[in-house]
């Protein structure tokens, strides 16, 4: 059961080969066994999950040919712990929200639980407020990579990635502000999709950088991602940036042959900044695509080297403001000892936030402050437009852009915590996509020294179905995505 696709699990549930309670119990037992070591989950609530599973079984029981249950009904899913969830803690990986229970549900939670009928398996570990690339900034401790426990699982959706890679959950949600779905997917041999900005509602998703954040699925295959995106996406009037578009079936084009697909290879992604072993896997994947009928075209994204600098202005600027609400007055952590209101603010935020969050809040406050706004914030926004323009130009000559997801495989725990800039540069290939608001995926494309490598596919706006198609056809012929870590 733990290796079945979501489609197969759905069929098994519909055929009553297994009940949702049985399936959920299976995964809960795996969590109980492996999570103490992996630290992929922050919250698990067996009773609550099983109650949801029973409700799903009731839905399945009352389904008929005329009125079938939603296709994912009864399938468990792990939720990244920044989606507000009633009845569960939503910590955002922070001491600030260590005991926070939201009185309302995020749009994604409500859609997956209430509309799709999926069972919440638990809340997954993450970098604090999604600020990190290794899951080492979590107040709840780092997550270990199931492929090698000495290595990081990636971040910020590191808990979700480790949980799915270790098959503690069939699938998980993640969010991606600068690569937080794609990079952990690459590090853990998973398929992850960051949709076009505005496709998945941000309502109830605790904001890091509002103009970049986007929720999406982490799963073992492109097909699973397509089914999950079908369930997660959709217009939401409560999010002003949610796009009011007709619903689409993201799985509709999965099987389409790739003949004539034009793959753009940006020269900036194929330089010596990438580890040779990773590059070799990417090159092999490109060769595979040619075999599948795709053609390749050399393209250029001339401003891509500016993506990381611009991102480290824009994201902290938005974050510094987004995180101002954590002031110890209405919810969350309040420092135990303080002298007056101002001291309460200063101590609560000093104690409630971890070092990386504080650094980014300070950067943000600085780049927005009087006298620096034009040189930093506006300049970064102008560069953002140049970067978006690069992609627009590239997509006139290709359909999909391909390159590595990350310049390295999963690095060792603790290896980069002292070198922040090196840590930040691990997102060098993923960040530009968020600045432009484009959809992108990471799919498994082989191994280097026993650790997974990821291939990034970037599409034009709303081209998720095409990306999923390209990913699916590749997965039909390669099978990298089916590899599982040993010993779990």
């Amino acid at each position: 059961m733990i290796n079945k696709s979501l489609k197969q699990l759905g069929q098994a549930l519909a055929a009553k080969d297994i009940s949702s309670v049985e399936l959920t119990t299976l995964f809960l037992d795996r969590i109980a066994r492996h999570n103490p070591e992996l630290n992929a989950f922050i919250s698990v609530d067996r009773d609550r999950s099983l109650a949801q599973a029973r409700a799903a079984d009731a839905r399945l029981a009352s389904a008929s040919v005329a009125q079938p249950a939603a296709p994912l009904t009864g399938i468990p899913i792990a939720q990244k712990d920044l989606f507000c969830t009633t009845g569960w803690k939503t910590t955002c990986g922070s001491k600030m929200l260590a005991d926070f229970v939201s009185p309302y549900d995020a749009a994604v939670i409500a859609k997956l639980r209430d509309e799709a009928g999926m069972v919440t398996l638990g809340k997954t570990n993450m970098d604090e407020f999604a600020m990190g690339s290794s899951n080492e900034t979590s107040w709840f401790g780092p997550v270990k990579n199931p492929w090698d426990m000495a290595h990081v699982s990636g971040g910020s959706s590191g808990g979700s990635a480790a949980a799915v890679a270790a098959r503690l959950a069939p699938a998980a949600t993640g969010t991606d502000t600068g690569g937080s779905i794609r990079q952990p997917a690459a590090f853990c041999n998973l398929t992850g999709l960051k949709p076009t900005y505005g496709v998945v509602s941000r309502y109830g998703m605790i904001a890091f950088a509002s103009s970049l954040d986007q929720g999406g699925p982490l799963a073992t295959s492109a097909e699973d991602c397509a089914l999950l995106l079908n369930a997660m996406s959709g217009f939401d009037a409560r999010d002003s940036t949610s796009l009011d578009r007709p619903p689409e079936d993201y799985a509709r084009a999965l099987e389409k042959p790739l003949n004539g697909l034009r793959i753009g290879l940006p020269k900036e992604f194929f330089n010596d900044g990438c580890e040779p072993a990773v590059m070799a896997a990417v090159e092999a994947a490109i060769a595979e695509y040619r075999k599948l009928g795709a053609t390749t075209v050399d393209i250029s994204l001339p401003n891509s080297h500016l993506a990381v600098p611009a991102y480290y202005v824009i994201a902290p600027a938005e974050a510094s403001s987004n995180l101002a609400r954590f002031d110890g007055l209405r919810y969350g952590y309040r420092a135990p000892d303080y002298d007056g209101l101002d001291d309460l603010y200063m101590k609560t935020r000093a104690q409630g936030f971890g070092a990386e969050v504080k650094r980014r809040v300070l950067i943000g406050a600085y780049v927005l402050s009087h006298g620096y706004y034009d040189a930093y914030y506006l300049q970064a926004q102008r560069i953002r437009r140049l970067i978006a323009g690069d992609f627009a130009a590239a997509f006139t000559s290709c359909d999909v852009i391909i390159g590595p997801t990350s310049p390295t495989t999963a690095f060792k725990l603790g290896e980069r915590t002292a070198d922040l800039v090196k840590m930040y540069l691990s997102d060098i290939y993923t960040i530009a996509v968020n600045l432009a608001g484009l959809p992108a995926m990471s799919i498994p494309c082989g191994f280097a020294d026993g650790l997974p490598t990821g291939l990034q596919l970037i599409g034009n706006y709303f081209d998720e179905a095409r990306l999923l198609n390209a990913a699916h056809r590749y997965q039909m012929t390669t099978g990298w995505h089916e590899r599982m870590p040993e010993g779990i």
Binding site: L243, L306, P309, R359, A365, R382, R385
Partner: protein, 95 residues
Amino acid sequence: MSLTLEQVQKIARLARIEISETEAGTTRDHLNGIFQLIEQMQAVDTRGVEPMAHAQEQSQRLRDDIVSEPDCRAACLAIAPETEAGLYLVPKVIE
């Protein structure tokens, strides 16, 4: 560009994050490292480029003027650190 300790304390004050004197030095060094990365932007001539604030060129959607949110006081006060008489309690506000 290089931040001084005084600037670090000033932005920490703006952000309402207490930073001890010993922390301030480390923080300054970290921030200066990050700003070195950021400074790469300054070499780019962006005259005439419209700043991009949003990923999509869309205009603001509007909602009808209808009361749609129910009273959530009980649930919201229940998660607050300190309340009384339906109010959030905070250290004395001096105006």
